[in-house]
């Protein structure tokens, strides 16, 4: 009889432990979100770049090296704005702060909000591409029919690996007028 009681007790203890594991693993599923972001930041996976302004330290400009920076603009589905870079391609020196603009026009009659999502290719270059000012840091509001030149300032890191000589910065413009998006990352930070 005591043996049976012992078994029941140890079963209970084991089950309690396994339930804790289950709950922890459920949480781990969600923890993968910030972990993944961290992983992306470190490795440049998916060409994710910094989402907040980079504070430049006075850097020397490496004039001996030329890097081609290309800009591309894409509208996501059902985004009716005109959206394009001012120039497609430029040569820059690592360490030099460069300014360029993207043109956007809202051709509709209503007010619309847009969010631009940056992505860098090759992904490896993402961690060496620092934006000091970018229209992608905030949502863009445009009244019907109006247009805007949106600024972008960036520095290519002097530590950019030698075999990378072209960096493509892509922006995809999403229509967020109606969604009022909650940031996934801020949610998990709670």
């Amino acid at each position: 009889m005591t043996e049976q009681l012992n078994t029941t007790l140890s079963v209970r203890k084991l089950v309690a432990r396994l339930v804790v594991v289950t709950v922890v693993m459920f949480g781990f599923g969600f923890a993968l979100v910030p972990l993944y972001d961290l992983f992306c930041d470190v490795t440049g996976l998916n060409g994710k770049t910094n989402s907040e302004a980079f504070i430049p330290v006075a850097e020397l400009i490496d004039t001996s090296r030329n890097v081609t920076v290309q800009f591309i603009a894409t509208n996501n589905e059902n985004m009716s704005w005109e959206f394009r870079p001012e120039v497609f391609s430029m040569k820059v020196h690592p360490g030099e702060e460069i300014e360029t603009t993207f043109y956007a026009r809202n051709p509709t009659s209503g007010e619309m909000t847009a969010q631009a999502i940056p992505s860098v290719s090759p992904g490896r270059a993402a961690t060496y591409f620092h934006k000091t000012e970018c229209f992608c840091f905030n949502q863009q509001l445009l009244s019907g029919g109006s247009a805007i030149d949106m600024p972008l300032r960036f520095i290519v890191d002097r530590d950019l690996p030698d075999d990378v000589n072209t960096i493509t910065l892509s922006y995809t413009l999403f229509d967020v007028t109606e969604t009022g998006v909650i940031q996934a990352t801020s949610l998990t930070a709670l």
């Binding site: 998916n46 996501n76 589905e77 497609f88 992505s119 290719s121 090759p122 072209t166 995809t172 999403f174």
Partner: protein, 394 residues
């Protein structure tokens, strides 16, 4: 125990020797008898193996594939050989008495370490190929590829050339009402054109859901992800037409968004590109031109076949999308019709915003076509300039 291990090992070795000869025999016999053209042709028609492709990378991948394949065949022959040997020799019905051994550290260690070594042998060429594939630097031509539900857009960066590439296989062929053509489901209205012997870099992204851009002959397959850009590259050795398909489930017409790449000699490519630019200029000029009803209707029908038919059906009767015959949009006020075509429908993710995808001539034509086809008989028509005015005033 050790004795049994040794015994087993020597027995294994003997069996190994017997079976190792087999694939060699097989291979030579395939070479000897299989070399006849008819057999090769037949194998080709049935499509037995991976394509060798037309780029250095695709050849390398093919060789890697064959290397791993043959290693697997050898391992298989050895393992299955021993297995079938014991199944034939060690049957109860033929009076086999079971041995008692059930472990041998030496043998177990060997068949852990030997496979590990074989794996290292495989990993070395695989790693070097992968490093090559990832080196997209020094490209001469940059093309942005955007996957849409269900077509591809190609944009020659820095060249002002951009177009959509739609499936051209008629619905009748798909539904078995007409005989299927040679390139059934693998044909498009406008192929991607690239020059041979030049490094072309593809920047791949998507407009809505995930897609994947795949051309087997180039050994390029990259996922197209909305909001993110992936890159891949190729240098094609031989001019020709190479076909591929979308390789990531992207909804209803996933099987109906092929890719066609036309690789040309450099001079031909330059001509083509110049022609494309001229076409764009002409198109700009044509925006202010006036077309006749017949011209609009004929052009509109083509635009409809390329862009609308998948959802709205061959006769406008609907399908995934609503019917266009005698409904509020196609037989209602023309401005509302333009609005739907240019701006899409709020809250409807399936109806595209054609204002960005079709030019004003195509928009005017297709709207005119829909309002006059299938007995809609509205009798009205649009000119490109009307679309322009609409876009300006909204």
């Amino acid at each position: 125990m050790r004795l049994i291990g040794k015994q087993l090992a020597s027995k294994l070795l003997w069996v190994l020797g017997q079976v190792l000869l087999l694939p060699t025999l097989l291979m030579t016999s395939v070479q000897a008898f299989g070399a006849s053209d008819a057999v090769v042709d037949e194998a080709q028609r049935w499509g037995l193996n991976m394509t060798e492709g037309v780029t250095a990378v695709s050849h390398e991948i093919y060789d890697l594939h064959m290397l791993i394949f043959w290693i697997c065949v050898w391992i298989g022959v050895v393992v299955f050989g021993i297995m079938f040997y014991s199944m034939i020799m060690h049957r109860k019905s033929s009076g086999a008495v079971p041995a008692k051994f059930h472990e041998s550290t030496a043998v177990e260690l060997a068949w852990t370490l030997i496979p590990a070594l074989i794996l290292v042998m495989m990993a070395i060429p695989a790693t070097s190929s992968l490093i090559k594939i990832y080196d997209s630097s020094e490209a001469e031509i940059n093309i942005k590829i955007v996957g849409y539900q269900w077509k591809w857009q190609y944009e020659y960066l820095g060249e002002d050339v951009s177009f959509f590439s739609n499936l051209t296989t008629p619905q009748d062929e798909i539904y078995g009402l007409a005989p299927k053509g040679e390139h059934y489901l693998l044909e498009v209205d406008e192929p991607l054109v690239i020059p041979v012997n030049k490094k072309v870099r593809f920047l791949i992204t998507a407009n809505d859901v995930l897609h994947a851009w795949w051309v087997p002959a180039l050994a390029v397959k990259r996922d197209a992800i909305p909001g993110f850009v992936n890159d891949a590259w190729t240098i094609v050795d031989e001019p020709g037409i190479y076909r591929g398909q979308c390789a990531e489930l992207c909804g209803k017409a996933h099987g109906f968004m092929p890719i066609v790449v036309h690789a040309m000699e450099e001079a031909d490519y330059a001509n083509w590109l110049a022609g494309k630019k001229e076409e764009a200029e002409e198109l700009k000029a044509a925006m202010s031109q006036t077309f006749t009803m017949d011209e609009l209707y004929a052009r509109g029908e083509k635009v409809y076949q390329a862009n609308c038919v998948a959802c709205h059906g061959a006769n406008g009767g609907g399908g995934l999308g609503p019917s266009l015959v005698g409904t509020g949009i196609t037989t209602g006020p023309i401005n509302a019709h333009i609005n739907v075509m240019v701006n899409g429908v709020a809250g409807n993710a399936v109806m595209p915003v054609f204002g960005n995808q079709l030019n004003n001539i195509d928009l005017a034509s297709v709207i005119t076509f829909k309002r006059n086809a299938w007995g809609n008989n509205m009798g009205d028509q649009l000119q490109p300039v009307d679309i322009l005015t609409f876009k300006k005033n909204q």
